[in-house]
Symmetry: C2
Subunit: 339 residues, 2 copies
DNA sequence: CTTGGCACTCTGGCAGGGTGAGTGCTAACC
DNA sequence: GGTTAGCACTCACCCTGCCAGAGTGCCAAG
């Protein structure tokens, strides 16, 4: 009974603070919520909650504000993802439905997510490391230059030009391509290095330079240049907070410019959860200490290919944001699997 | 004499204001510059300059601030592009020198430009509409799906999957490819529609569906989906101004998110000038009314392929910014022409 | 045309007092 | 024991008045 009401108070505080962005006091709480007790009682509960570190007071005579820990408890136990309205679902459907190719899907997704959540949206392209090679093709560009094209199941197409020291020979290339195809087709990227290991042994001495150059180039593409593409959207939503709230957006913008940081952000999504939330200081990166990151993986069931999510202030509408992220992830998954 | 000193005063005002970001008064001016006259004289000149609309006073008892018109005069007549130091040139060289492919060049360029100018950098990928097709290739994906690959002279590779209603026939495709190659190789994108016009006439009746589907897809790629890619960098530099200056960055961020606006921005670069500057209200887009845009085209002499530039506050260091933009454009041109 | 002098204006910072929201504590109540 | 009312207390905030400083415009003399 006691414990239960305290949680209700915390929940009410989070909700009110998210709605108003102002410290919430005991009187206002009993006015706006049916708590059935007097402000004085609430004050006792609030003191206890503060003691336990769930809320804090900016100064002596102000109301209380949830701490990161308070938000964490709220997200874990006090809220549930609120389902989208059917109108919203239809809207998503219409928005993402007639995307032409992968680029189109990605750019639409990021805009949609930003618009839905009024926050900064981050969408990662299907990760090569979690994709499978579908085909491999060669296109001779000049006498010494060969373009290697990898077609990936997620719809991505990677191309690379390799500069061979020896002239290209058409029949040799055809042979090489055939053997490469057998070796890598429908295999995950991560297994490619081991599969290419002994491939050059099957070719005669004079073919070696060309074969080796091609294999080296593929290996490089597969290992070093696994450039994970990321698209951003809705950064102008940041400015909104800047004005109202006393939070500097510079470190956030800096963080968002760093591919590495973004990748880490998206990469830490815990796979067994539907939607992952990292709140304030739970983010390793200092610049994001006053923001929360809500992410979800997309792709096939049990084998996600990448992540997407949003970055917003810690005082965000968690249920709404989480449901939006989850829904968009599901839609993207479905669209990609249809191709 | 009179006119001459007035211009010197304007120049000094612009320089001081750019350096300090504070309204500049008559006393400070004579202190910091060798003008050889007394503050009172300067005041007369300032009154005249204000009358003519080159400077303005934020309030009765503050110094003067240059207007857009003042900056315009400064840029056009009172300043010259200051050459980069050899150290800077070497730095650029090292930074851009070992870029692997086009994506790499573009992302390095945008970072470099942002770092050099401490402003927001905008770099446009080589525009397809101003590029030439180098090769065209087909890759059958499934029985009905064909991937069309256009290799462009600027290094871009465009791919597109076309879904044909009829099964693909290898020999027909080879024939089609050969004829397409003849028709479009080394031709500018803009001329492609007319060159493809009558191509289908050369095929017999039963080949028509496939041929038409492929041609339609290429036409669509060439006309509608001329998606000009643009990369942004250094947006966190915006936050810097926000704090010091009373200028909201929201509209700027919004503008930067709109591909259309950015393209317009870069597209308006006047070709006969080396570097183009648009100051404050000279920008059509309202959100950018308190920013200046410095752009330059890059590509081969007399046939630019795209533009790059920076967006910053009107009170920027014009000579420095212009020289940086010019230098980077030249380097990018050189690197691209080397491939 | 230039200059020194002077009155004037306006901003920004600082101090002081009043207000209101909100708290913590204590003692009474169920 | 939990709950409540009452009360004193503490700040942040706002408004006010005040002062200093910077800068201007104008005028009369050089």
């Amino acid at each position: 009974m006691l414990e239960e009401r305290r949680l209700a108070v915390l929940k009410a505080i989070v909700q009110d603070y998210v709605a108003t962005h102002e410290p919430v006091g005991s009187k206002g709480l009993v006015d706006r919520h049916q708590l059935g007790v007097s402000p004085a009682t609430i004050r006792n509960d609030m003191a206890a909650l503060e003691e336990e570190g769930y809320i804090t007071a900016p100064h002596t005579s102000a109301g209380r504000v949830p701490t990161d820990r308070g938000y964490r408890l709220f997200v874990d136990q006090l809220s549930q993802i609120k389902p989208l309205s059917s109108a919203e679902r239809r809207g998503i459907d219409r928005f993402l439905g007639d995307a032409a190719d992968l680029d189109d899907v990605m750019s639409r997704t990021v805009r949609l997510l930003a618009q839905l959540t009024k926050q900064v949206a981050v969408v990662q392209y299907p990760s090569l490391s979690r994709s499978h090679v579908r085909r491999i093709e060669f296109i001779p560009v000049t006498e010494h230059k060969l373009m290697i094209i990898l077609i990936v199941d997620s719809g991505r197409v990677e191309q690379r030009v390799v500069d061979c020291s020896v002239p290209l020979q058409e029949d040799l290339l055809a042979d090489l391509r055939a053997r490469l195809s057998v070796a890598v087709a429908d295999q995950p990227f991560s297994s490619i290095p081991s599969r290419l290991e002994d491939l050059d042994a099957g070719f005669d001495q004079e073919s070696q330079p060309l074969v080796r150059a091609v294999i080296a180039s593929i290996l490089e593409t597969v290992t070093e240049r696994l450039d994970e593409r990321i698209v951003l959207g809705g950064t102008s939503n940041l400015a909104h907070y800047n004005e109202v709230f006393a939070m500097s957006i510079q470190p956030v913008l800096e963080a968002l410019e760093e591919q590495v940081v973004l990748l880490k952000l998206l990469g830490e999504t815990t796979p067994h959860q539907q939607v992952s939330v990292r709140i304030g200081h739970e983010n390793d990166f200092v610049g994001l200490n006053s923001t929360s990151v809500v992410t979800s993986q997309y792709g096939r069931e049990n084998s996600p290919v990448a992540s997407l999510g949003v970055v917003g202030p810690t005082h965000m509408d968690y249920p709404g944001t989480m449901s939006a992220v989850q829904a968009v992830a599901q839609y993207v998954s479905r669209i990609l699997s249809e191709n």
